[in-house]
C-alpha cells in the first residue's frame, strides 16, 4: 500500500513538473542540435548555451527551418554521463551533437557510435582528438596557458613567486593549459611556480582554494588562473591586496570586471564563450544541413581585456545577452 501511494506521489510530481508536453519532431521542418557541455552550473557554459540559442533563432528566421537546441549538459562534470547523453541524443533523433568533453577516453566511443549511426558531432572548448567528430571550435590550450603566464611575467617584471589555479585536475584541456603555463614560467629564471592548485569547479571552491593557498604560501605574488572560476565571486577583491598580488586569468565574464578595474587582475584573456555556442551552431548548420565543407578546426581567439577596453568589452558582453553587466562599465568610453 505504501509503495502504491509512493507511486501516485511520484507520478503526480513528475506530471506536475512536466508543465508541457514535449513537441513531436518533424524532420522536414526541424533541425535539432543536442548541446552537451561539461557542467550546467558553470557560467561559461551557460553563456555558450545563450550563444547557441541565439544562433538557432537567427538560423530559424533566415532559413525557414526550425533550429532548436536540446540542452543535455550534466549538472556536474562526468564523462560517463556525457557518453550517456550522447547516446540519448541519438536515440531521440537529434540531427547533430555539440560537445565539450569532460573526459576524452569516456566519450570517444560514444562520439564514434553517434557518427556511425548518422548523427554528426562537433566539439567546442574541449576537443575529442582521434574521434570521428567533423570539426572543433576552440583554442590551443597549451598556448592559452603560455599566454596567461607570459602576461603574468610581464606584470611582475619577470620576478617573484607565482601559483597556478588549475581547476578540475581530470579535464584534459585544463591539464594542457597548466603544462603550458609551467613551460612558459620556466623561461623566466626569476620566477618560481610554488604549485598548481586544483579544485572543484565552482566559484566558491575556487576562491576558497586561492585563499587557502595564499595563507599557506604568504609570499605568492602572482596567480596564473587558467580558468576564471575564482573571479566569479567577490571574495578575492577584499582578501587580496592589488599592491602585493597580481592575477592574470582566462575568462572575462561580467563578475570579473571589478578585478580589472581595481588592478588586482590587470589583464583577463576572455574566451568568447558566447561564440562557443553561436559559432558552433552556425558551423553545424552549414555542414550538416547545407552540406558545405567546414574546416576540421575553427580557431578561437582570446580577447585581451584590460582597463584600455573595459567599456568596449562590457558592451560586447551585454550584446551577447549577459544581463548582469554593471552599468558603470557600460558607460566607460572605451
Amino acid at each position: 500500500m505504501t509503495k502504491s501511494t509512493t507511486a501516485l506521489a511520484l507520478v503526480a510530481f513528475v506530471a506536475a513538473c512536466s508543465g508541457k508536453q514535449a513537441p513531436a519532431a518533424d524532420a522536414s521542418k526541424t533541425f535539432t542540435i543536442a548541446m552537451i557541455a561539461k557542467s550546467s552550473t558553470n557560467p561559461v557554459f551557460l553563456s555558450g548555451r545563450a550563444g547557441a540559442d541565439s544562433a538557432a533563432a537567427e538560423l530559424s528566421k533566415s532559413s525557414g527551418v526550425k533550429v532548436s537546441i536540446q540542452w543535455l549538459t550534466p549538472p556536474s562534470e562526468d564523462g560517463s554521463v556525457q557518453a550517456q547523453r550522447i547516446a540519448q541524443a541519438v536515440n531521440e533523433g537529434a540531427n547533430a551533437i555539440l560537445l565539450s568533453a569532460s573526459d576524452i577516453g569516456k566519450v570517444i566511443g560514444a562520439v564514434n557510435e553517434a557518427v556511425d549511426r548518422g548523427v554528426p558531432v562537433m566539439t567546442f572548448d574541449s576537443d575529442v582528438p582521434g574521434s570521428k567528430r567533423f570539426s572543433f571550435y576552440g583554442g590551443d590550450d597549451a598556448e592559452i596557458g603560455k599566454m596567461v603566464m607570459a602576461e603574468l611575467a610581464k606584470q611582475m617584471g619577470g620576478r617573484g613567486k607565482v601559483a597556478i589555479l588549475a581547476g578540475n585536475q581530470n579535464a584534459p584541456n585544463l591539464q594542457k593549459r597548466v603544462q603550458g603555463a609551467r613551460d612558459e614560467a620556466a623561461k623566466y629564471p626569476g620566477m618560481t611556480v610554488v604549485n598548481a592548485f586544483s579544485h572543484i569547479e565552482t566559484p566558491q571552491d575556487a576562491a576558497a582554494e586561492v585563499l587557502r593557498a595564499q595563507n599557506a604560501y604568504p609570499d605568492i605574488q602572482g596567480w596564473a588562473m587558467i580558468g576564471g572560476w575564482a573571479l566569479f565571486t567577490k571574495a578575492l577583491l577584499t582578501d587580496l591586496d592589488p599592491k602585493k598580488v597580481k592575477i592574470v586569468s582566462v575568462d572575462g565574464l561580467p563578475a570579473e570586471l571589478p578585478y580589472v578595474e581595481t588592478g588586482l587582475a590587470p589583464v583577463l584573456f576572455a574566451q568568447p564563450t558566447f561564440l562557443w555556442g553561436y559559432q558552433s551552431v552556425k558551423t553545424i548548420f552549414d555542414h550538416v544541413y547545407l552540406k558545405h565543407d567546414v574546416p576540421a578546426r575553427v580557431p578561437m581567439e582570446l580577447i585581451r581585456v584590460s582597463t584600455d577596453n573595459l567599456g568596449t568589452w562590457a558592451r560586447q558582453l551585454r550584446d551577447w545577452g549577459f544581463t548582469d553587466v554593471d552599468p558603470k562599465y557600460l558607460a566607460l568610453p572605451k
Binding site: T2, F13, V14, C17, S18, A22, A24, P75, S80, Q84
Partner: protein
Amino acid sequence: MHSQPSVTASPDASRATSLRAVVVGLATSPRAGLVGVLLVLAAILTAAAGTHPDRVSGLPVNNFLNVYTLIQMATDASGFAIMGVGATIVIISGGIDLSVGAIFALSEVVMALVLREAGPLPPGATVALGLGTCLLVSLLCGLANGVMVIGLGVHPFIITLGMMWVLRGLAFVVSHAESILVPQALTHVAKASLGMGTALYPVPLLAMLAVTGIGGLYLRRTVAGRHIFAIGGNREAARYSGLSLDRIQLGVYVVSGLTAGIAAFLGAAFYGSATSSDANGYELYVIASAVVGGASLIGGKGSAVSAMLGALLIVTLRQAIRTLHLDQNYEWIIIGTAMIGAVVLDQGGSRLLARRMARRAMQTRSGREIS
C-alpha cells in the same frame, strides 16, 4: 466463507483460477508498488515523448519507447543496481557503506594501470586480468572497511566516509589524474551486441540481472543470507542465538566492495577509460536505490530485486526529466523528494501495520478471555 475449488473443475475454470492467483500474487507482492510506479511512469513518458523519424525507414519512432532508449536506460541503471545489491546487503545488516563510489574508482584505475603495465595480451587473458584485478582491489577495499568497522568499533558511517576520501585520494595519486584508456578487448566484452544489432549493448543489463538474481538467492535462500537479516533485525537476539556477528559484518562489507568492483569493471570496459573522478557521488544514488527499493536504514529489511527496481526508478526519473524537456535541475529535486517520500511512507506504513497487528492481538486475547 470461501468455497473450496472443486476437484472436477473444468480446464477453463482452473485456468481462470491460476490467472487470478498470478494477478493476486503480483498485486500483493512487496514489489508491486515499485513495478507499478515504473509502468505508470513509462506509460506517461511514452504518451508525452513525441516521435522522431527513423533514420533508415523514415517511420515514426517514439522518443521514449524504443529499444535503444530502453537498453540505454538499463545500462545507465546497471552500475547503481549492481552496487545497490551490495548496499542493500550492508543496509539489511544494519550498516552503511559510503565508499562504494571510491572503491569503483580505485578498482578501475588500478585495473587500467595493471593492464597498461602488462602490455598486449590475448583478449581472453586481458579480460581475465582486468576482471581479476578489479575484483581483487574491490575485495581488499571491502575487507578493509569491514575490519575497521569491527576492529575500531566506530560507526560504519564514519569509517566508510573516511575510506571514501582515502580510496578516492589513492585513485588520484596512483593515476596522476590521468584518464587511462583500457584495452579494446574489455570494450568488446562490455559492448557485445549478442546478436541484438548495431548499437545495442545488452551486457550491462544482463550483468545487472545476474547480480540481482545471485544477490536475491543469497539473501533469501542461503543460511548466510538469513543471518544478515537476523543481525539487522535484532542484533542482540542474533548474538544470543550464537551467530558470529563479526564474521557476518565482515562478509557484508566484502560483498559490497565486490559489487563495486563488478560495476567498475563494467563501467571502465563499457566507456573505455578509467579516471580517479569516476563514480563521484554515486554512493548516494546507490543508497537511494536501496532505500527507494524499500531497504530500511535501521536494518533487517530489504531485497536485491527491490534495489534493482529502485535503481531503474531513479534512472527512469532522470530520463523523464530529459524526455519531457524539463529543466534538468529538477533531477535532484525529484530524486530527493522520491527518496524522502519513499522512506516516510514506508515508515508510516510499518507503524500502521504494527498498530493493526497490536489491535488484532488485543482483540484475539479479549475474545479468548470472553469465551
